[in-house]
Symmetry: C2
Subunit: 184 residues, 2 copies
DNA sequence: AAAAATATGTAGACCGATCTATTAAGGAGT
DNA sequence: ACTCCTTAATAGATCGGTCTACATATTTTT
């Protein structure tokens, strides 16, 4: 793959990632992706012969990998509770600064495609498993690390959903205040 | 409104409620609604002149009210932790029995329409507030009942999302095991 | 009480717009 | 010269929404 080809491919993935996080799978048309990326229609199907599902699938995995890396790469300094509080604050910043558009880059697609596309569905499932593993690594040593990792992930996803729906940081702040009870 | 008119209207709402819970807002076409309800297209726009948004909006509020009533009407016997555990078990049953289609009847629409339709968006927000209030009523007396209600709601929503995505009760079970730490 | 008038609801063909996907041809890079 | 990639026209299906004609109640008038 030549240089220009790779650039176009990346631009398509960037545009898709941005658009589906805001509008979801069905809410994002390929016309929008093509317009936002600047790439022509034909290039889309050259780089992603699998069509929309392949394009969105790779975007979701890409976005998921970025989060996993952030979670795994953070300094191991603070306590588990402080770590989660930091994640929630960071997510709240991102959500508010984006005008309540950018919550979880996976959740909308996961719910929309739960009943239809296995390809996308599996991609979302794997991303969540990957985040779960990254969180579990931060809770190492605790006897119930497995349960706790899933619980913390559920808490984060639920709080993000509520915060985005209410267009307010309030749910994130309330959850943050209760984290100590869980991770004490 | 005559008897037959009310019946048709209800059938349309029933079909919509069922379909959007599985497929979401954009994933559900009015053709599907019309086919599933047995009502003709014209009747849809007679009973819901506001079109798809009005139809889905009323469906969401209707589904939300049903849940609120269930939450508020449950016997006040068990402890808060046992109450939440019961809710999670019930949600898990519903999810599994529906073939992993029926999770939260609001979440998908809330995320899909967060950036587009204020009408639907507000409907989802109000439903969540109503559930939050119902949960808070079960935690009366605690000094941090406000924070706890939101936290429990976030936990439920997040666990449902993960369970639906993984097609497994595992996340619900793990969260259930951690509830005591939160509501001890 | 019969008949006319009005409201209520049904029925489905139809509209333009938009959707995803395909195609055949030509340009750019090496 | 040969592969890699772009370009734009277009196909065919489906989308939400509108329209007119018709049927069935309900009320008003006589």
């Amino acid at each position: 793959m030549g240089k220009k080809g790779t650039e176009t491919r990346d631009r398509l993935l960037d545009a898709t990632q941005e658009l589906i996080e805001t509008g979801g799978y069905f809410g994002t048309g390929l016309n929008q992706v093509v317009a936002a990326s600047g790439a022509p229609r034909g290039s889309l199907y050259f780089h992603f012969p699998g069509g929309k599902d392949q394009l969105v699938g790779e975007s979701v995995r890409r976005a998921g990998r970025a989060v996993t890396d952030t979670l795994a790469g953070a300094e191991p300094g603070p306590s588990a509770a402080e770590f989660v509080a930091g994640v929630l604050r960071q997510l709240g910043d991102r959500l508010a600064e984006s005008g309540w558009r950018k919550g979880c880059p996976v959740a909308t697609v996961a719910l929309e495609t739960a009943a239809t596309s296995d390809l996308l569905h599996d991609a979302c499932s794997e991303v969540y498993r990957s985040w779960e593993a990254a969180l579990r690594a931060r809770l190492e040593g605790r006897p119930d690390a497995d349960d706790l990792a899933v619980t913390v992930l559920a808490l984060i996803e639920g709080a993000l959903l509520l915060a985005r729906t209410h267009r307010s940081r309030e749910p994130l702040e309330r959850v943050t205040r209760q984290i100590n009870a869980l991770l004490s």
